[in-house]
Symmetry: C2
Subunit: 289 residues, 2 copies
């Protein structure tokens, strides 16, 4: 018999909202982390269409402490919170909301999670040239975080979608002091960017399960000394990462960003240090199951 006798009238709870949520790893990760740290919290998942009322309910229901927000609500949720940091406004999406005495505070942990993954891997970003492949939601979060928090030598943006590319470039130039260059993504611009980039961050869905045998970057463009980071975490090692590793490049899997965005979320929910090893183990067990 499962033991849920620990729940009292003071137990707080966090909820994932999105649609669909049926395959989310978040309940497993956060509940394991709550248990490991003795935090009196429970984490549940809710398929949601009506974001406004999901957030109105969060405000009204005492003990409803935190919310994780996933696709397709990361942009709309911004409308219904009371406070958002300037960087998250610039990014244009949030994945976390906490309720502080009835006030809803939104933030994003995807960008900081990616930065933490790089730092934890020993990558020093100071004065580095960073190539960002793709200009979608993940790219926006990572590009803004790195452009604001690291003194990069240059950030190179590539995308096939000219509108996304120009919008993100303009926003980065308006909102940060980082030198930005950009170009339409094609064989020539990738080759030119790879020739000077020291850190390459793959922010497109290319290489994700089930179409795993594709990569934006020709294998011969990698060179030792580079760092290759892929936001895709299914599979754990994409073709992009496999070919980078074979060329002697340091690689970081998207799972590190995924774990770290949850780690930072946990710390916002509870105010205590996250049990990173426990959270990593749960993710790995679920992904390898």
């Amino acid at each position: 018999m499962k033991d849920i006798g620990f729940i009292t009238p003071r137990t707080r709870f966090c909820v994932l909202i999105g649609n669909p949520v049926g395959h989310s790893l978040s309940p497993a990760i956060h509940n394991a982390a709550f248990a490991a740290t003795g935090q009196d919290f429970v984490y549940l998942a809710c398929p949601v269409e009506d974001v406004a009322n999901a957030l109105a309910g969060m405000r009204a229901l005492g003990n409803f402490r935190g919310m994780s927000i996933t696709i397709p609500h990361k942009i709309e949720a911004m409308k219904y919170v009371d406070e958002i940091a300037a960087v998250d406004r610039a990014i244009g999406s949030i994945n976390t909301v906490i309720c502080e005495e009835g006030k809803l505070i939104g933030s994003g942990t995807d960008g900081p999670g990616a930065l933490k993954a790089l730092v934890d891997a020993g990558v020093d970003l100071a004065a580095k040239k960073v190539l960002i492949l793709g200009c979608g939601g993940a790219a926006r979060a990572i590009a803004f975080t790195l452009a604001q928090r690291c003194t990069l030598a240059e950030m190179i943006m590539l995308d096939i979608n000219q509108t996304l590319l120009e919008d993100l470039t303009a926003d980065l130039r308006a909102g940060t002091a980082c030198p930005i260059s950009h170009a339409a993504l094609n064989a020539e611009t990738i080759a030119a960017a790879m020739a000077r980039a020291e850190v390459i961050i793959q922010c497109t869905p290319i290489g994700m399960h089930p179409k795993v045998d594709v990569s934006l970057v020709p294998a011969e463009l990698f060179r030792p000394g580079q760092v290759a980071f892929d936001v895709v975490y299914n599979p754990l090692e994409t073709r992009f990462l496999r070919e980078a590793k074979a060329a002697g490049v340091q690689t970081i899997s998207g799972v590190e960003m995924f774990i770290n965005q949850a780690v930072l979320q946990f710390e916002l929910f509870t105010g205590v240090d996250a049990p990173c090893a426990v959270m990593r183990q749960v993710v790995m067990e679920q992904l390898c199951a």
Copy 2:
């Protein structure tokens, strides 16, 4: 380490709303019942002031299956649900809401819980004269349920509050076929009602902790063959029940109504038979702790 690894993205949840909720037994009762029956549910408590948005949130958050409603929200909650049975409209309060495919259905289990406590104790109400002491919320729920479901010979209503007394009497006469008599509660009317009543239901807070040494009914008015039922469950045996028992009267504690309202709620939440013995044990453990 507590085990909350059983929670998945499909786990449903129920919540108590009220103010305050800090001493509620409901999380302990319902979580034990979910565990005992293998139902993939969790039960939490939420202090709430904004009832409208608590219910709006329930509608928006998928997997939010059920709500228990306690003081002071049992009346106001009726405004925000989509369906209420006629009997609950007449009673004028609800203590339960379930969400069926986005539709909120309100109901009351206090009256049916009291009736089940009487039936479980072997009391046959057919053609009986029933005295109801008090005309507040509990009295309304019990009086309507008994007047509608049992063919009583007579229901006698007593209260010191003339407005409550006349309103409930009028509502019962309008909404049921049960013969109703009523009188202002005083020494003479209690004596007269006790002389003919076969079942006495004490629906006022008199005798509740901490003022335990008071009773509305003088001990000498009890006589063998009567049934005495007190809605107060703290203490488990009120002075009213103690004196009734000493006079050879069959007694039923308010804890039976409390357990049975939770049993009926559990069945609305889950659709499966409640584990009554488990729920009783949890209540007794908590009340005797």
